[in-house]
Homo-oligomer: 397 residues x 2
Amino acid sequence: MNDLLLKSVRPWGDESVDLLIRDGRIAAMAPHLTAEGVEVIDGKGHIALPGLVDAHTHLDKSLLGWPWYRNEVGAQLLDKIDNERQVRQALGLDAQVQSMRHALRSLAFGTTLIRSHVDIDTEQGLKALEGVIETRRRLCEVLDIELVAFPQSGVMRRPGTIELLDRALALGADLLGGLDPCAIDRDPKGQLDVLFELAEKHGKGIDLHLHETGELGAFSMALIFERIRAHGMQGQVSISHAFCLGAPDWQRTQALIDECAELGVTILTTAPASREVPAIQRLIAAGVPIGVGNDGVRDTWGPYGNADMLERAKLLGLRNNLRRDDEIELALGLCSYRGARAIGHESRRLKVGERADLFLATGETVAETVVTHAPRALVISHGRVVARNGEALLPTP
Amino acid sequence: MNDLLLKSVRPWGDESVDLLIRDGRIAAMAPHLTAEGVEVIDGKGHIALPGLVDAHTHLDKSLLGWPWYRNEVGAQLLDKIDNERQVRQALGLDAQVQSMRHALRSLAFGTTLIRSHVDIDTEQGLKALEGVIETRRRLCEVLDIELVAFPQSGVMRRPGTIELLDRALALGADLLGGLDPCAIDRDPKGQLDVLFELAEKHGKGIDLHLHETGELGAFSMALIFERIRAHGMQGQVSISHAFCLGAPDWQRTQALIDECAELGVTILTTAPASREVPAIQRLIAAGVPIGVGNDGVRDTWGPYGNADMLERAKLLGLRNNLRRDDEIELALGLCSYRGARAIGHESRRLKVGERADLFLATGETVAETVVTHAPRALVISHGRVVARNGEALLPTP
């Protein structure tokens, strides 16, 4: 069932080999393989790379499939949050449809594992989560999706949100989210206490958006560290964005980074060009697990996101001034198998015995494939062919 | 001669019109135009945008057409400078061939005006300049190229360079270049004195690379300002990169920016994600002219550059956190007609009477065209069709 022999591909840019896929795993990798009764695909000498991992996105927010959204939103975070709820309601957005469009585009680009936040708020309740859970169900054989119950509009400032988050975790969200306990909720102790209690109650991990910069972010992070210790949640907490780890005060920042490493806190970054960001080489040196994400795709927040994690590897390289080939390959690793490990999933390198999640792309070298975010000729996920020439083989709504 | 009627295009994303081009200029722009005996092209409702302007690149450095260059270069600026001279010699690079490849790729992306630095040093003398001048001659009917005699390896630290720069300006370089008078030459007074004297002697402008950050860059900039006043070169000097204008000390930085405005100093940026950079909206508010460039394209410095100024507009937007449609259109303007004005060239907006330098691209809105750096269906330069579907119509060596 679903066995494949992929001829003439160059894993991670190396010499050409054949790749035998059985039961969703790589069964053999060598030149001139043969296998009877198995579908054969000609890889045409393309580079084969491990399935991409989008460790931070928002499947419920995309406006893919809608006319161009003209962005005239204000500059503050709360402007964007309030605007989004209004637009969502005015358009009557269906999170199931939108998340399916977004997920299939990701898959067509070679992403086989997604961690997505989903908005939970007192206006729409669990509606978006139910929609994205349905998308996850429909795609479960070809795409791993884990979901974070995300209080985008705040926790303490909107009574009723806590109860919704509780129900979201019971309904099937894999992790509990949170957002700027100082800047948005203005009650850091309140928000973090309730979130950690709720996560412990459900035995689930936490992934917090932390946009707060400098000392404010460092303060929130210290409160998070305290609660990780108090609840014994070492290795179960991720912090998304973590701009405060890009602050210029070396010593102050290093102490925070070292504590992330000690507590097994995963840092998830989108490597934005316009913000302070944690330097990935510095995090790696300290032993902090790193994942990378595309964040929103064509939503009311901004038009740049396009679901392509190979382009994200390029942006990660540009942001971190990675110019050498080995550095660019590192960026790609973080956007694929290393990112998977950082969010607690099985690695998916191109090795015998590992999962057959991979894609074929043009390019002379791995670095060229990244900097051109080269067209993807073929995507294989969970051992099945799921996309060809940039188009998912499943119908897009 | 070369007259064209371009039917059904949307200038800057507006309603569809026809565009009559005569003698290299836009002669009429209205719905349902007719013209006898004139070639008619169907614009298919594509967005029409003004020709792009690459105000800072290096036509002589690209490795386009060569096998992938595996970058293993050291981290310092001097590592990269020394490495480049070695590679250039080892490969026997021909600046005429390389600049033609680079220029035609730019043209295929819709760029119709380029300011290029060309390395002048005591190893290769004027050889690269001669090659790029030949490329300029061959392309003069379709692409405006202005050349900066650029002492990449330093001025004072390599005796004989000054004489070469003198000859370069006599040979046909349009401007005189320079580079980090402190960090590279370690003799800021010496370098800047000789450069300003040489520029005055030839009656030519100056375009200086200034990578120096913080106080060091501010110091070099102050020396440049002094000499602009002493030589009466207001409005004739550009500073490329100018990272020191991205320094966090607001008051100190504002004083430098205001002095740029007062002296008519144009700031040229590539909007790198990994460096301090001048904020474009701040420069605009102060009245500083701004141009944008791609910098190197696939050279020994790094693999990211690809000659596409529409993608550069996107990177400019990402670096400056431009999310609104009007902000993204501003970024595009800086990469096209505003950039042309900033480096002393005729504007090229899509207006009757202006130059017929334009391209057609897919997209629902201008902002979408930018964020997707959409495929270019057609490029018209100096009134002629020069590229279709991303390929220049002239033969690439």
